[in-house]
Subunit: 398 residues, 2 copies
Amino acid sequence: MLKPSHRGEEMPSSPIRKLVPFAEEAKKRGTKVHHLNIGQPDIETPPSVLDAVRNAEVKILAYSHSAGNASYRNKLVKYYEKAGIELNADQMIITTGGSEAIVFGMMTCLDAGDEIIIPEPFYANYNGFAVMSGIKIVPVTSRIENGFALPPISDLEKCITPKTKAILICNPNNPTGYLYSKSEMLQLEDICLKYNLFLFSDEAYREFCYDGVFTSAMQLDRIQEQVILMDTISKRYSACGARIGAFITKNKAVYDAAMKFAQARLSPPGLAQILGEAAVDLPDEYFNAPKAAYLSRRNLLVKRLNSMPGVFCPTPGGAFYVIARLPIDDGDRFCQWLLESFSFNNQTVMMAPASGFYETRGLGKNEVRLAYVINNEEIDQAMDCLQEALKVYPGKTN
Amino acid sequence: MLKPSHRGEEMPSSPIRKLVPFAEEAKKRGTKVHHLNIGQPDIETPPSVLDAVRNAEVKILAYSHSAGNASYRNKLVKYYEKAGIELNADQMIITTGGSEAIVFGMMTCLDAGDEIIIPEPFYANYNGFAVMSGIKIVPVTSRIENGFALPPISDLEKCITPKTKAILICNPNNPTGYLYSKSEMLQLEDICLKYNLFLFSDEAYREFCYDGVFTSAMQLDRIQEQVILMDTISKRYSACGARIGAFITKNKAVYDAAMKFAQARLSPPGLAQILGEAAVDLPDEYFNAPKAAYLSRRNLLVKRLNSMPGVFCPTPGGAFYVIARLPIDDGDRFCQWLLESFSFNNQTVMMAPASGFYETRGLGKNEVRLAYVINNEEIDQAMDCLQEALKVYPGKTN
């Protein structure tokens, strides 16, 4: 039988999805599974943006401009203006989710064999996009003791080789929830300037900042032509399934090159562009309710976690994730055990082992990522489960 | 200023889109431009499939399964069954357009540096996907004198090296409209069997066959695990902007590898999957009207072209394209001149120079591709323009 390519073999599986069969088994046994494992918000997609699709007058669902509809990009100019980011419509390419924006960035700015520095733990799918692009991810470790702050800039500097082309950050961060400070952003600007590197900034969670002030990479004045902004409406408007994102750059040569990748795949999804455009028209107050919900959940979740013996969870400033250190031998084993062998009040909890977010082997072994995309009542129930589980888990370490 | 990667520089521009600025200028001057240049059908998207999206009860537009909704894949099993192709739902991955299916195929089955043989002229975006995948396209020339039939199998055989991993066909063909015969498909089966190659089959135009019988690569019994079927609903239901396609294989190892690429980008567009699923429910008679329209247009277009002195256009069996040989020095120059310097009754015609579809330099210089995606009246007007243009074009060769 013909085999897949080495690239196909090398392509990593999703560390989040590998527990799915165990969750399905648990559900079959009648156990309620609290899903803290994936970043699929439970917040409703705003009805008005779905209505915009319903009411759109479409006779022929034709290819759009490869950069996305001009009307949408023009509206996005205003969205970014409100967010303190000055852009014009010809600096954006509407993409199929944030995923495609990341692929466009890697493909357009790096050649096969080039290196990109990413603070770990990081969003696991960056690995897959790096395999697709043939580039090498060089991790710099951020530490739970520091709340996953930017590692010392000297650590980043040590990783720079002649093959280094870019630094990638996710801000606020998935999986840590960390919100980079202005001062950290300025340090990143310095190092990108000094070594002439691209700064890739994945700002999927921009609207969900609870403490401190968000600084976009696009606001770094001295590296305006070195920044690639990767964006998505998935979390912002709870529209993950739409698959609409944006690749943004003020570097004309990079933009022109990225447009060739965009033209090859013809156009981003048409119906979802209508939704995205309508979302820009939502009133500013739209974000108040989801933000308040996430903030309240974060506070509850962090409090519950830190009240358990041996558990440590820093309080992150944004997104809707936390990483917690648990008194356990191995997060993969523990998360599987929770689904396979444990229940409390006929309930259990599904979390993502943090090891899958670290590039360096062995790190994150006693950490898990939790996404607070369930309501407070469910969070309480899930934490009751976790608390009981930690009392009886055979691989408990203290 | 930081520059794009070599890959970004090397990425080809769309040969079809480069004339767009000249067309825009012509329109500004008040000239009507007949668009025979791109494969964007003028046929309406079936209202019922758009209604399915309008009436869908969506509260949270969530990520779907990375392979696409199971309900959609199950329905597609029935669609393919009617088309004489036996599949199950776990052999399909719903993709973002046919484009993504092609990328998945190249990435999953070939490594960087590997070779794929493609009969030329071929769909120009294969070049872009090959650059993304780092693979090398090896062209085998099909000739207008033979109506762009499959080149002699000995020509393909001569191109095979230890790096050859696959042969790619588009059937019926874009840009030639050629429909491969059963006998040609069996020859392809033989050679793939003999050299243990993948057969990639882009069947975007499956439903539009006018003469002869369509044979899917999936019907080749002896290479069931070597075939990768790349499909799309773009042309089938005149829904190019939906961005829904499919990657299909019976090779379990290849499927599993492709699923990792699918998981990295999370899911295909959600709203458009609803549309795609509804399209499978259209009555069998749905295709009668568009097929009849395309057939009538093809007959008119080919007749008009062949009635012009020095013009030769074979009659293709499928899709909605023809390639014509014109008595001209250079198709690129001619097509630009038509937009820049010519009009007849205040009209002109936009076509795609065929050179962009050939990999071998210098081939197709006096050929153009025409897409019959405008009605007969407009085709007549466009051909009136072309006929007059050929009388006065300064680069006329006979």
